[in-house]
Symmetry: C2
Subunit: 182 residues, 2 copies
DNA sequence: CATTTTATCGACAGCATGTTGATATTACAA
DNA sequence: TTGTAATATCAACATGCTGTCGATAAAATG
C-alpha cells in the first residue's frame, strides 16, 4: 500500500492535466470551470476534489512537472558545453514541445510561470553577470537581462520560430554580453 | 440630452473605479466579485450592469484612463528634453502616484497592462533603435529592450523606490544604449 | 480472497450571476 | 418651475458553478 495510491490516481491526474491543456488552447484559463474540466477528462466532479482544490492547483502541477522535465533535459546536455549551447538546447526543447510551451508561456494566466521557468533555466546556465560594485545596480541589470531574454523567447514562440534556435541563442548571448562589457 | 447621460453616470463609474482600486489592494483581482465591488462602492448590483459587463471592463476603463493621463503628463514636459529626461519625468509621475501604479503594475492581473502602458510611454520617447539591417533581429532587440526596461521599472516600484528616479532613468538609458552600439 | 484505495453517483445548500419589471430619484431643458 | 428622459433602486427569479456529504461500486494490492 505504498505506491498503489498512485496507480489509478496518477492516471486520473494525467487525464486532468491533458484535459486542462486542451481547454487552455480553446479559451482563457480564467474561463475554465471545474465542471467543464471534469467533463473533458471524463471524470466525475467529485473525483476532482479527491486530488485538487481548484483549477489553479492543476495548472501548478503541470507547471511544476514541465519545469522539472525541462531542467532534466538541459542537464543531460554535455555539461562542458558553453552557455550559448545550453541556451540553444533549451530552445530546441521548446521547439520539440511547441504546443505545450505555447500554451503555458504565450498567454498571461495570471501566474508567474513565464518568468519562473525561464529564470529557473537561465540561472542554471548563468553566465557571469556584470560586476558594478553596487549590488542595487546589479539587481536591476539582472532583472533587465532576465526579462529581456524571457520575452525574446516568448516572442520567438509566438512568431512560429521565425529564426533558427541557434540564431536566437546567439542573439540572447550577444545582448547579455554587450551589457556585461558596458 | 447630449451630456447629461454623464452627470450621475460619471460619478457612478468613479465610485466603481475607486472601489475596485481599493479591493485590488486587499486581494487578487480574480477573487473580486461584482457583488463585493458594488457593496464597496455602495451601489446596487443592478446599477453595475447599466455600465459594465464584468469586473474586467471596469479594470480596462481604469487602465485606459491611466494611460491617457500618464501620456498627457509626459507630453507636458519640455518637448525638447532629452530621452533620459522624459524617462525621468515618467518615473517621477509614477512616484507621485505610487499606490495607483503599484496596484496596477505590481501584480499579474492577467491582462497585459504592464507592457502596454510602459511600451506606450517608452515608444513615445523612443530613442533611436539599433539598425541591424535585418528587421527580424531588430524586432527581437526591441522586445528585449522594452521588456527589460518595463521590469526594471516594476522592480523599482516593488523595491519602494530604492534609487532616485534620475539614476533609474540613466540606468535604463545606458542599458539600451549599450545594445545600440553593440 | 480480503482489504484498502479510489471512483462514481445523487443530492444538497450556498453563492454569484445576469435579467426583469416596477418604481423612485436625478439632471437637464423648455 | 415643471416635464421628460436618463439613472438608480429594489425585490425577485432562474441559472449555473461550487464544495461537501453519504452510500456504493470498482479496482489494485498482498
Amino acid at each position: 500500500m505504498e505506491k498503489h495510491e498512485s496507480r489509478r490516481a496518477k492516471m486520473t491526474k494525467r487525464l486532468l492535466h491533458e484535459a486542462l491543456m486542451e481547454l487552455m488552447q480553446e479559451k482563457p484559463f480564467k474561463q475554465i470551470t471545474i465542471k467543464e474540466l471534469c467533463e473533458r477528462a471524463d471524470l466525475n466532479r467529485t473525483t476532482f476534489y479527491l486530488h485538487y482544490a481548484d483549477q489553479q492547483s492543476v495548472l501548478d502541477d503541470i507547471e511544476r512537472e514541465v519545469k522539472e522535465q525541462t531542467l532534466a533535459y538541459i542537464q543531460n546536455v554535455n555539461p562542458s558545453a558553453k552557455a550559448v549551447d545550453l541556451i540553444e538546447a533549451f530552445l530546441h526543447y521548446i521547439q520539440k514541445n511547441e504546443v505545450l510551451f505555447r500554451t503555458l508561456l504565450c498567454n498571461n494566466n495570471g501566474d508567474d510561470f513565464q518568468v519562473e521557468l525561464i529564470q529557473y533555466i537561465l540561472e542554471g546556465i548563468r553566465t557571469n553577470l556584470p560586476n558594478y560594485g553596487d549590488p542595487t545596480t546589479e539587481r536591476y541589470v539582472h532583472t533587465f537581462l532576465m526579462h529581456g531574454s524571457v520575452h525574446i523567447i516568448i516572442d520567438w514562440i509566438e512568431a512560429g520560430f521565425d529564426l533558427p534556435a541557434r540564431e536566437v541563442a546567439k542573439l540572447c548571448f550577444r545582448l547579455c554580453d554587450s551589457v556585461r562589457t558596458m
